[in-house]
Subunit: 647 residues, 2 copies
């Protein structure tokens, strides 16, 4: 417990909730890392797809990047609309649930969840991959580094979004400042040199062309480049993390992320063409990323180069953080609708959804271990979830505006709604087409896995829902209390010997019912231990039966059962079955005296029969059984200790 | 559970106990492996100590071996006496407890326990060491092989002594037959050749002498050779494992073990001298054990050589088994006197003391891992425990006969007792002197560790005893039942919502006491979940209070407590503390409705508040609290399922 407190900080009270909400300044590092990090692999992925064109490929970068930038603008505008329309939480799950129905919302939920898990695994391993290619001696520790960073990000998020946002602020804003400066400098140099700047460090020349340009190739390049947009939806899913007033803060965060991302994407594409930077084969020796070539070309290989590339690596590693902010929030919404385990909806120690964070960390950790921290195979699976989410969210908004239009009366409002509708129709169509292109272009490379997993997740969600529905059907009742005046229960008191605890148990039992049977088990320790039972019979007669009779009460019976297999469970269950058969309308209360263990080492010094028998009785006893525990202490505890431990 | 059944076999009933006891035939492999295995390292250890003497050392092997053989005869005779005097269990612990008092018995117990743990680690690693020196490619797997064999021996012993005895019978009797034959053939050849036989494969010649013979060197050789006697006490510790009639079966087993061991020791020494076999340096290349040189010299390197050496390796690996038979039995005796955890005295699934077996396996496993399966450092620690045990056992018998002499009346009986007394006085003196020699000769090499650990173990045993004494002082009572007619308890019923389970809980609570308070907690899921509590208040009024009033009962109160930290424990403990203060003489019954989990995956789907709150209440609630559990089921269980699971 103290360790937990040390790592995660003290337990926060409910009323501290507001203070734990974030501002736009913390919002960018908390929710924007995924989006911003995309700028370092999106353009590179598009250029990699164009490698067969050789140097000529650079001529087409504009053709591919322009639609991506347009898409980004559309996404920005339409997500603003979503945030305004659903200020409590405007994620794809909420929007599609409200407008497209349960099935669509489950599709959105599975797509989101899969994408978030993949984002964690891909982000961390890509970051570590870049790090180890910069520092080859770290290569053998790839998986350990991945898991170490996963652990760090998990702990920061278990502490809370505020803490994580503050911790990652430095690398985030360092990255933004460095690359905005590089882009600005590069553009200035290019313009000053009339479009043909001379690089400080010249990038390697492109490989010779092996193919001519085709539409298919451009499509694949576009699909690859679309990964640059993953993470943009984060703000809409995490609106509830913001401090009041929520909407303007969310606007500001979304705006900042999209603006920076747009400038970086446009700038990188423009400069790549101007400086003649093409993608290199990652499996070849001497590989350099597009970002690294470009930085070298613009500012050379000085200290600034290392600061900029270092911050890019950090951003990539931490881009997993976005998932940690949003995944638990999405899970909570889904869990509140009973499609995911209910513990996911419970606010944890530090006012974050700790269970969701742990599930995410677990799933991503397993993925990292399964793939040894190598991500080449995971990347093709990746953008599908994001674009499926975009499309569903946009489509939901389309139906939202259609419904609003029906109710709107004033002409001005109707006009506004029509404009919004148009924006979302465009958005839905464009993201839908992009999704189609991505699925087709990447299907063979691995997209089929995502296509296969999504229905499985939906099936799981529905199964969970069915469980809760059955549970509620069993339990739910809104009728009045049943006040049948039944006979008192038959009480079975389990005893090993006559002692103070047995005495207290028996007192309680006699208060509960006149029908009390003390049950003791013979041969529990193995054969040849019957001596103590003779003693027990004697004590029972003198210590229990005589005083009870003297007080005019029905004396409680002592029953000795043989434990042939040295287990209480079997003969006790048999006895209960028999009593239940003979007394059809009475409850049975089983009373277990239990010595309470105050220290861990006490568990080594006691047999755990009472624990095991309790478990078996609960499991198989049935609803005519009630279990009672009478605690015995070596040292009487003070309630204050318990209160201290909670704090 | 089915896996456990598959590995260990079905659970055995108490009445099958007799059938699980062993005969002398199973006794030799079950209890003799340690003793017989000693013959393969005892003579070698003695010869190794004499290496500085070169070839001349062989002349002194008789001087060293003769006292060892005499010691063996003394041990045989005196352990026969012990078995006869203590036919239920004649281990050093029992004998010294009866005759020398508690402290001496605890000394014996610690010495025995330490020796048994060491024997497991040393036996297995020595066996694996010999195996890997025969098959060098296995070298890197030393530790895995050690742990694998440990696992095998553990499982066989968890299945039961009978099964282990039968499984190890083949290698044991193969070893005995091979080496008795080799010794017989060697002696015949030697006699036929007039004392100078020509070896089939000549042993390497001894290293040149570097020292002259000294008493100190002979003493060290003797101390080293004494390891040949470890394991002889096993039979006396395990008498209770034998089938009736116990004493003659134990005699036969002890006799067989001592006789075979004696013949092997004498034969090996005689033949080593005749064939000129000396010990080789184990750290040098081309090392061969004495047993291997001797076998080669007598019968050459044919198939028989490999059969004999193979069986010797198997015996060495399995010599750990003796500890598995005896350690749990010794622990049981000590635990019955409350000096060790009581679970060690409980007969397990297969009528063996499973907990003791697991403790032994755990301790030996840790030793093996700590030392990487390499035993050179452990061996010097080893014989001390055995000889300390011998001495205490003999000394105990001396006092036994002294006491018997006082009571004996007939002259013949007195004569018998005097003889026995004399034997045990000789035994005690000789083993005591041997113990002294071993401690002195091996002190620097590592014996000091054992000398240091023994008092620590004794301290631990006494601490455990103190715990049980306090526990019993708290609990024990042999007075009559307290029949104070106290008021019924105040019942607190924990509820989350109004449902069938709450209804049943409330019914039971109302039967228990008129003072029932239902407690519900606000903000458990985090802030902003108060809506459901308004609903609960409404339902309580209409479903509970109105029907109760209509029936003329005091309506149970509904109390809403704020859970600031989203934990039930804190506000509940505060409430209980308050109630206890206001009602000094009443018990408090806390009633927890609980949905019973029938499948493992249900644990993922429920919050575990009721489990956690129960634990905290037990821990800190104090003895004025009684806990009640009302189980709710998704599917009503059948008791028969529970009975099936037990089988």
């Amino acid at each position: 417990m103290p360790l937990l407190k040390l790592l995660l900080g003290r337990r926060l009270a409910n009323e501290e909730h507001t203070a734990r909400k974030i501002t736009a300044f913390e919002g960018v590092p908390a929710m924007g890392l995924d989006g911003l990090g995309s700028s370092s692999y999106g353009p590179e992925a598009a250029l990699t797809a164009m490698m067969p064109l050789g140097a000529a490929g650079l001529a087409y970068i504009g053709v591919v990047m322009l639609p991506i930038l347009v898409l980004l603008v559309i996404l920005y505008v339409s997500y603003r609309q979503t945030i305004r329309a659903y200020p409590s939480n405007g994620g794809a799950y909420t929007v599609s649930k409200a407008n497209l129905g349960t099935n669509a919302s489950l599709l959105a939920a599975s797509a989101l969840m899969i994408d978030y898990v993949l984002n964690v695994a891909v982000g961390i391993s890509a970051g570590v991959g870049a790090l180890t290619s910069a520092l080859p001696p770290l290569q053998p520790y790839t998986l350990s580094l991945c898991l170490g960073i996963l652990l760090l990000v998990t702990f920061m998020n278990l502490r809370g979004t505020v803490d994580a946002g503050r911790a990652w602020a430095l690398p985030t804003y360092l990255f933004v400042a460095s690359f905005l400066a590089i882009v600005a400098l590069g553009v200035y140099k290019t313009l000053a040199a009339g479009g043909h700047p001379s690089p400080v460090v010249a990038p390697p020349s492109a490989a010779p062309a092996t193919e001519a340009v085709t539409l298919w190739l451009l499509m694949r390049s576009f699909a690859a480049g679309c990964t640059a947009m993953t993470g943009v939806e984060a703000v809409s899913n995490g609106v509830s993390a913001f401090r009041e007033p929520v909407v303007p803060r969310a606007y500001r965060t979304l705006g900042a992320i999209c603006l920076i991302l747009g400038i970086l994407l446009a700038g990188i594409s423009y400069l790549a063409r101007a400086y003649g930077v093409s993608a290199m084969d990652q499996t070849q020796e001497g590989y350099q990323s597009v970002l690294s070539q470009l930085t070298g070309a613009v500012i050379g290989r000085g200290v600034l180069y290392y600061v900029a590339i270092g911050s890019a690596l950090a951003i990539l590693c931490l881009s997993a953080n976005t998932s940690f902010v949003d995944f638990p929030r999405v899970c909570r919404l889904v869990a509140q609708d009973d499609f995911l385990p209910r513990p996911l909806a419970v606010v944890g120690r530090r006012l974050v959804f700790s269970v969701g964070i742990l599930y995410l960390a677990g799933a991503a950790g397993l993925l990292l271990i399964a793939f040894g921290g190598i991500t080449d195979r995971l990347i093709p699976l990746f953008a599908i979830g994001a674009f499926l989410t975009f499309t569903l969210s946009q489509l939901g908004m389309v139906f939202h505006w259609l419904a609003e239009l029906k109710h709107a009366t004033s002409g001005r409002v109707r006009h506004g709604h029509r404009l919004s509708l148009a924006i979302n129709i465009v958005g839905a169509s464009v993201t839908g087409v992009a999704l189609g292109i991505i699925v087709v272009a990447k299907f063979v490379e691995g997209a089929w896995i995502t296509v296969l997993v999504i229905p499985c997740v939906i099936f799981l969600l529905k199964t969970i829902h069915k469980y809760y529905a059955e549970l509620d059907a069993q339990l739910r009742e809104d009728g009045p209390l049943h006040l049948t005046h039944a006979d008192p229960p038959i009480v079975l008191l389990l005893i090993e010997e006559w002692n103070r605890l047995t005495d207290r148990g028996l007192q309680f039992a006699l208060g509960l019912s006149p029908d009390v049977v003390a049950v003791s088990f013979m041969d529990l320790q193995g054969p040849d231990t019957r001596e103590q039972h003779k003693k027990l019979r004697r004590q029972w007669s003198s210590n229990v039966e005589q005083p009870a009779r003297a007080a005019g009460m029905k004396p409680p019976k002592l029953m000795l059962l043989e434990a042939r297999y040295r287990r209480i469970t079997e003969p006790l269950l048999q006895l209960i079955a028999q009593i239940e058969k003979e007394n059809r309308d009475r409850l049975i209360a089983v009373l277990l005296p239990q010595v309470v263990k105050e220290h861990w080492w006490q568990y080594l010094l006691h047999t755990h029969r009472s624990y095991r028998v309790r478990r078996a009785l609960l499991r198989y006893g049935g609803s005519r059984l009630v279990l009672l525990t009478v605690p015995g202490y070596l040292e009487e505890p003070r309630i204050e200790e318990g209160l201290e431990e909670v704090a």
